[in-house]
């Protein structure tokens, strides 16, 4: 570790992994509820379990992003963090607020939680992914502001690199766009339109900047390729992401009361959204092929390459599949959407956070650059278990979705929703099994932190013939 | 970067050809001419103009490899699709 204050990243990463485990457990409950409808009913109804599943995902990814920023920024800025104390304070505030919110979801009926937290004063609850009580949302804003202040001051006072600048722009956009979570008009068409300014412009906009910056940082560190080259690519990729992604928001405006020209604008621009992800894949492999040395942390390199591939598959290919408005007319709000959502979130954002953890955690735990071979082998096993099972989850949901679309939407004699759900139950069972494998992968991942701790780390080796920079 | 000076005269000839084809296109529209043949002629003018801009103004005629052909491809592929659509519409499909 080059700077003492980078250590504040460690609790963030640990919390992220902890919440990740919670997210997956609730995912398994949901998967079972899909096939055993009364599982845990009425104690934990589906909507509560789903809210916990999605909210934990968002919160642990935010923990991961913040931890990544706290690790990365001092090293890029070449100075200590502006205020490590503030970072630790914010960690506890965010963790406690997050835990209280989740406990509220689980212990109090949702309408009771709305009463307790005064939702009537500023109603923002009860919209997908934004279910948090208004007070929690205010807390998120405060934590985000303190975090941005801390990271921003560090960047301003230190060396300004493209990586830290892009990361900062992404995080700033994340905080600003979240403010639309407080806008909740009675007019449902408007409500939905601006709801997407948070949801889409996060995951298909500013989060891609964060993803790109973290990926660039890890590639600079692990491949030894000239920073200039990597930063150039980073700019081109994120430029393409915003050029396609901003107007690409239109692919959510087809059927929610917005005017119909969005069907054209949305289709054309979102059809190009796979481009930045494709460029990212090419970029990552290119950089690894041009590496000047073999970094001892092979697991981190594997995660980085995995992110590039899976983000392209999940966000790019699975997104493209149903983004054109004539296709989306039939697939909108079906299991196809769920399939895309799972692989895109895993491939792009879960994996980039795990990439950063994989790179930084050995150093944060006092090693030179990497875990022992044994620990890395276990970690790479977890990579394959989780990634392959996620591919299968996606494939099974896609199968379910295709059948659902055909029976419920496309055939000449459409069947009711619940009838169709029973007919495709086999796919949901297979998805649940794949989910169990994912959990085994996750347990393996956690285990990798506890094995081989006393064994030496592998040595870096120089490439026999460094490729031309 | 190319250090060779640009010969202005040939570019000016190209410029005049572009202006002429534009006026011709406009006159065809103004005269109310229509139908498949006319449409495809006008489209051909447009593709030729595009090619002239790509080659002489953008300087692609001095480039080798794939970059030499990007504008050509950009003109030919949409041009073919537009042609197909207009042929189909003429047949009343």
């Amino acid at each position: 570790m080059q700077y003492k204050s980078q250590a504040v990243a460690k609790p963030y990463f640990i919390a992220a992994i902890g919440l990740f485990i919670g997210q997956i457990l609730f995912g398994l409950i949901l998967g079972l509820q899909y096939v055993v409808g009364d599982f845990m009913f009425p104690e934990i109804p589906f909507n509560v379990a789903r809210m916990v599943h999605t909210n934990l995902l968002i919160v642990w990814l935010l923990f991961g992003f913040m931890g990544s920023a706290y690790y990365l920024v001092p090293e890029e800025a070449e100075r200590e963090l502006h205020s490590p104390g503030l970072a630790i304070l914010m960690f506890w505030i965010f963790l406690v607020a997050g835990a209280l919110t989740v406990l509220g979801y689980l212990l109090v009926p949702y309408s009771g939680l709305a009463q307790m937290t005064g939702n009537h004063l500023l109603p923002t609850m009860g919209r997908e992914f934004l279910e948090q009580p208004t007070i929690t949302k205010v807390g998120i804003v405060i934590v985000a502001l303190a975090f941005l202040y801390n990271v921003g001051m560090t960047v301003l006072k230190g060396r300004k690199t493209v990586v830290s600048l892009v990361l900062l722009i992404g995080l700033l956009g994340l905080a600003l766009l979240f403010l639309f979570a407080f806008y909740n008009p009675d007019n449902l068409a408007k409500d939905k339109y601006y709801w997407w300014w948070v949801v889409h412009l996060w995951v298909e906009g500013v989060w891609e900047l964060i993803l790109g910056a973290i990926l660039a940082f890890v590639l600079i560190k692990t491949t030894g390729v000239d920073r200039e080259v990597i930063e150039k690519w980073l700019y081109v990729i994120i430029a393409m992401a915003l050029i396609t992604g901003i107007v690409g928001t239109g692919h959510h405006f087809y059927w929610i009361g917005a005017p119909e020209y969005w069907q054209w604008w949305g289709s054309i621009f979102s059809a190009l959204e796979p481009l930045p992800f494709f460029m990212m894949t090419v970029f990552a492999f290119n950089m690894v092929n041009r590496r000047r040395r073999n970094h001892p942390n092979k697991a981190a390199v594997l995660w980085a390459l995995g992110t590039a591939v899976m983000a392209f598959l999940g966000a790019g290919v699975w997104g493209f599949m149903h983004t054109l408005s004539p296709v989306n007319y039939y697939t909108h709000g079906s299991q196809i959407t769920a399939a895309h959502g799972h692989m895109a979130f895993y491939g792009a954002y879960v994996m980039i956070v795990l990439t950063m953890i994989s790179y930084a955690m050995p150093i944060l735990r006092g090693r030179q650059a990497a875990n022992s071979n044994l620990s890395q082998v276990v970690e790479m096993w977890s990579f394959w278990l989780m990634t392959v099972s996620m591919v299968f989850i996606t494939l099974f949901l896609t199968g379910a979705g295709i059948l659902q679309v055909y029976m419920q939407r496309y055939s000449t004699d459409p069947l009711p929703f619940m009838v169709v759900q029973e007919k495709i139950a086999l796919f949901y069972w297979m998805r649940e099994v794949a989910g169990l494998v994912f959990l085994i992968g996750l347990i393996t991942y956690v285990a990798s932190f506890f094995v081989g701790g006393r064994q030496p780390e592998p040595k870096a080796t120089a490439m026999p013939e460094p490729a031309a920079g | 970067m190319m250090q060779t000076p640009v010969r202005i005269r040939s570019r000016t000839v190209v410029y005049l050809v572009l202006m002429g084809l534009t006026v011709a296109t406009w006159a065809i529209g103004r005269a109310g001419l229509e139908g498949l043949g006319v449409s495809l002629l006008v489209l051909a003018f447009a593709l030729l103009k595009g090619q002239l801009v790509g080659d002489w103004f953008m300087g692609l005629r001095g480039v080798r490899g794939i970059w030499r052909w990007v504008i050509v491809i950009w003109l030919v592929v949409p041009g073919a699709l537009i042609t197909l659509a207009f042929v189909l519409s003429e047949r009343g499909v």
Partner: protein, 193 residues
């Protein structure tokens, strides 16, 4: 390069390659829009042919000539800087900028006319395409003019030389793209029927 038989020598087109990646992305969008226009027209031939006659092709002629002229002025600007005359380069680029301004002025008159007639993107499919395509292009003209002005100002201040003028070629390439798109857009939307 000799004028008679061109001897292709460069590996990359003039200007910074990054702008060419951007140009390709933009051209791709326009290409998809053009094809979408043509194939949507298939289902609404009568409608498209009817509303096409409500457009002002004289204004479009002026605009096409303005853009072609501006492109030629930009070519002269690039030629000037290759001779080392950065002041002339700035003048040519300002000329192209003026032609761009003329384009915006004429196009704005057309838009004002449509607006007063109550026409919007939601009026019908033809106007949806006409307004989307031309407005998207309109914004490109504005962006192109910003780039032309930036290049002209830097050139006037001696920021480019015979040896180092990649910036001029980069701006020129972008501007030619704006022209190129209009050369296809004009006949497709205003004339072909």
């Amino acid at each position: 390069m000799p004028e008679g038989g061109p001897v292709p020598s460069a590996t990359y087109p003039p200007g910074d390659l990054a702008i060419w990646i951007f140009i390709l992305a933009e051209l791709l969008v326009f290409a998809v829009f053009f094809a979408a226009y043509a194939f949507t027209r298939l289902d609404h031939v009568e409608l498209f042919n009817h509303y096409q006659t409500t457009l002002d092709s004289d204004a479009a002629l002026v605009n096409t000539l303005a853009l072609i002229t501006s492109s030629w002025l930009v070519v002269r600007g690039v030629a000037a800087v290759r001779e080392g005359d950065h002041r002339a380069c700035a003048r040519w680029f300002w000329g192209a900028f003026g032609m761009g301004a003329l384009f915006l002025f004429v196009k704005s008159l057309e838009y004002a006319h449509h607006l007063s007639a109550g026409i919007s993107l939601s009026t019908n499919t033809f106007y949806m395409f006409y307004l989307s395509l031309t407005f998207f292009h309109f914004m490109h003209v504005m962006l192109g003019m910003v780039i032309l002005a930036a290049v002209a100002i830097k050139a006037a201040g001696g920021g480019y030389s015979r040896e180092d003028h990649v910036g001029v070629e980069t701006g020129a390439s972008y501007w030619h793209m704006v022209d190129l798109v209009w050369l296809v857009l004009f006949p497709l939307v205003y004339v072909m029927r």
